[in-house]
Each structure stands twice: as structure tokens, then as C-alpha cells.
Symmetry: C2
Amino acid sequence: MPFSRRKTKSIRLRPQQHHPQSCGEKLANRWQDGLFLCVGLDSDYEQLPTHLHSAFPNVQDSLFEFNRQIIVATARWVSAFKPNLAFYEQSGLPGLMALKRTCDFLKKNYPDIPIILDAKRGDIGNTNRGYATSFFDYYGADAVTVQPYLGREALVPFLSHSDKHIFVLCRTSNPGGAEIQKLLVEGEPLYLKIARLVQDDWNRLDNVGLVAGATYPEEIAAIRAVAPDLPLLIPGVGSQGGDLVSALKNGLDRHGGGVIINSSRSIIYASEGEDFAEAAGKEAEKVATEIRRIIG
Amino acid sequence: MPFSRRKTKSIRLRPQQHHPQSCGEKLANRWQDGLFLCVGLDSDYEQLPTHLHSAFPNVQDSLFEFNRQIIVATARWVSAFKPNLAFYEQSGLPGLMALKRTCDFLKKNYPDIPIILDAKRGDIGNTNRGYATSFFDYYGADAVTVQPYLGREALVPFLSHSDKHIFVLCRTSNPGGAEIQKLLVEGEPLYLKIARLVQDDWNRLDNVGLVAGATYPEEIAAIRAVAPDLPLLIPGVGSQGGDLVSALKNGLDRHGGGVIINSSRSIIYASEGEDFAEAAGKEAEKVATEIRRIIG
């Protein structure tokens, strides 16, 4: 229901407002155009092509230039870009300056493509206000990933932004995620209990989604069954080995949308040479075409 | 057991090595000196005394100067300092520069006092490596707070640092924490299940502790019962209204140590005037003296 509403609204708005403002509208438009791939800008200074290290002697410039070229080469194939903050924080302030410039570049040149800041934050409400200010105001992100452990009340500083999307960690893609996420709560695994809480209660402003790893496709199906209306951010295809076909088939909502398939390393590091951006573009095209073929 | 081991070691090492290197040694020394208070450097640019805004026209300098004066005024009363990253991130890069300078100042002038970076991070292992690099190498923190939701495997990049301490969120101080943390898992609340996992399995290098809010003192007692060996980082006294007496009585380990009582706003914002540092020092002395009286 929320999806069909959003789609209708975005279609109606399109002629009047060329650049939709809310994350929900941006995503609905990209899905309508058959775009489901998200490129994860997990750009690690140590792993950049060596010619960039030579051409741009400082961390900030080389990280930004890498991102800029990846974005230009892949933008036409994506539903969203998702920088993970850890890869920038590890380079200290120069890394975060590169992230800020990347977000500014995206907002200026690709205002229709949502920026999902993969931050996985979660603090008490008073403190989450600081993070929300950082992500939404300072970096200008359209969406953010958050932890569920402190409950809905703590997340209100994120959830109250009706024009943003909040993706709550549900079933993560890592091998050890089951240790906590599959603990049985009232007869069902914790991750399903959380999916249910988000669907039934946390999504009051129609701006909340879930993170569900492609490495556990059967669990994506279980999540989709209890959370029919929530967009799913699905990491884990590519280097982590998640299965694209079953992740997609299990994740799509009843309108044939509602999924964001993230791939990071296998796209951004498709080549270590001077052709890295071209190779990333080709890999993004390949995955995007494969997704379109599977969805049919 | 691990505590008595650590204590013995630190006593033996003291004459040879004036500045102990590991977080465990630093904490054991502070506890031995009767110091259990932690000052939370949750320094919000908007809340600084107005004379600092005038004297230091940029964010970085005024935030750092505030921290520097608070640290100098309170250091003799504390077991640790705990900056929460959200308050710096909300001011963008200038805020993080102030945090970096604060950590550098602490390491240079107070190398015996552990820096606990309150980051509450939690990502997959590959990504947590980036955060560990940021916190331990770039900022030089002695300890960090993390989320339990992705399981032990994801936390290995933190846990593998035997000289650092990792505080896992267990029972948080916020009013809505119970929504997830008190879900029943095999007949016990999730937070106790996590306390048990950390005590029995995650603490393999004797460097893991738990976060347990002073606002729920009975639950601190329940945590201490299943986790006799783990240090407890206890936020929530002061502005959040947690009860110091019961938090302490319920949290102390069998050696009369093992607790870090954090207070942030009620100390760092004790006065809005030019006497803010003096007022913070007096408030820290008051709480530290009260703690000593309660412990007896």
C-alpha cells in the first residue's frame, strides 16, 4: 500500500518538480525505470589503483577522484549509491573530507540518485540527534542504516525525518550474524521479530526499510512475508557470494519493486588498472542487466 | 579471576613501567586509586559557554578549548574520559578535528587515563577493520563501545586488540531500550543472554566489558550475576537520573572494582559561565567523593 501510494505521487509530481526531494520518491522513480542496483562506495585508500596514488599525492584527492570516476561510470545503472563510513573514517579527517566532497558531487550532479550513508549507528535519542545532523544536514544523505538494539524510541531523531529513509539492520550478510539474529524470541528468530516491529510500528511515516543480506536468501523470503511494505536493502552479492537470483525473487514486493541490491567490491575494484572506472561501469551494466533479466 | 590477575600484573609492572600500555592495566591502576568516575566528553558546540564562542570564533578551537579546560579541571577525579563521537560528527570535519586534538592532548598529558571512544559501532568484519583503524590507530583510543547485533565474528577486528577494551552494549540507559533488550530468549531477556555470551565466549583475551545503564539498577545486578568478571561501563547517572548508590552496589565485582560510572552533561555543563571548568571540577569531585563514600 505505501508503495503504490508513493509511486502514484511521484508520477504526478514528475512534470512539475524535476528533482524529487524525498528519498521515497527518488527510489520509486529509479525502480520505475528498472534500476535496482546500488553501488557501494566502500573506497579503501590502500586498495586504490596505483596510478591514482601517483597522480594525487594526498589521501583526500585520490579517494575523491576514485569515487568521482566510479560514479560517472556507473550512475546510469544504479538506484542508489551507498558509501560506508568506516572506509573513510579509517583514513582519518582526509578520508572524511573525501566523503564530504563525494556527497557534494553527487547532490550537485546526480540529485535524482539517493545517497544511502551506511553508518549502522545507534545511540540513545539525545545522541542520535547528533548523528542525524551529521548525516542528513552535513553530508546531505537521503538515507542511513541504523542498529535496532536500542529500540524505536532511540531512533526517533532519524525516523522523524519523513523525507529520509532509515534502513534498520535485520539479517546481516556476515557469517556470524546468526549468533544473535537467530536467537529464538517467542518462537521466531530475533531478526523476524524486528522485521515485524518495523513493519507494524516503527514505519509510521512510511520511511523505514530493512537490511537483509543476499547471503541468506531464504531469510529474505521470511522477512518479505512479515514485512510486505518495507523496502529491502540487500548487501552481499558479488564478493560476499550472495545469490542474486534468489535474493531478488525472494525480496521483490508485490509491485515488483522494493529492493536495493548492493554490490561494492566486485564493481569498484573490477580492475586495478587505469581502466578501473570503465571496468566498474561494465560490471555495473552487467549486474544491472542481469537484474532486469531476472525481474523480467 | 581475570581482574585479580590484571591487578597483580599492574602492581608488579608499576616500578618498571611508569605509563602502563594496556587499557586493562590503566583501568586497574585507576580503580586501585579509588577512581571510578568517567567524565563523558559529550561536548556540543551549541551548548558551549558563550564566552568561548566569542573568544574562539571557529568550531574546532572552541570545542577543543572547552574539552581541554574540562580535562584539566577533572582529571584527578576520573578513571577514564569518554568522548561520544556523535557530538563531534554533528559539527562535521571541524568537530572531528577538535576530537582528534582532544585525544592527542589526553595521550600527551594524561597517558595513564584511558580514552573510551563511545562510538557504538557494529558492521561486518571486513568493515569493522576500518573502524578499528580509525579508533585505535588514528585517534589512539584505549577502548571503544560496540553493538552486539552482528555477533562475535563481526567484532573480531576490535576484539583481537588485546591491549584495548571493547565495551559491548548490553542494557542501555534509554527509556525505550527494553523494547528489544528485554525480549525473552530461552526464558531470559536478550540483554542477559548477551551478557552470558560475552562472559563465556567473547572475552577470550580478557579485554571485553559491558555497557549497563544506571537507570536500570536491578538489571545491573542481574548482569553482574551472570558476568562476574567483566568490567561494566555504567552511563546514566546525572542528567539521565540513574541512581548512583544502587548502580554501584549492584555493579561492583568481587574485588570491589570493575565499574566505570559515567556522567556527562551534569559535569561538563555544571555552569554556563566563565567558571565552567571550575564548576565541572567541583561537580566531578563531588561525584567521585560520593562514589568513594558509597564504596567505603
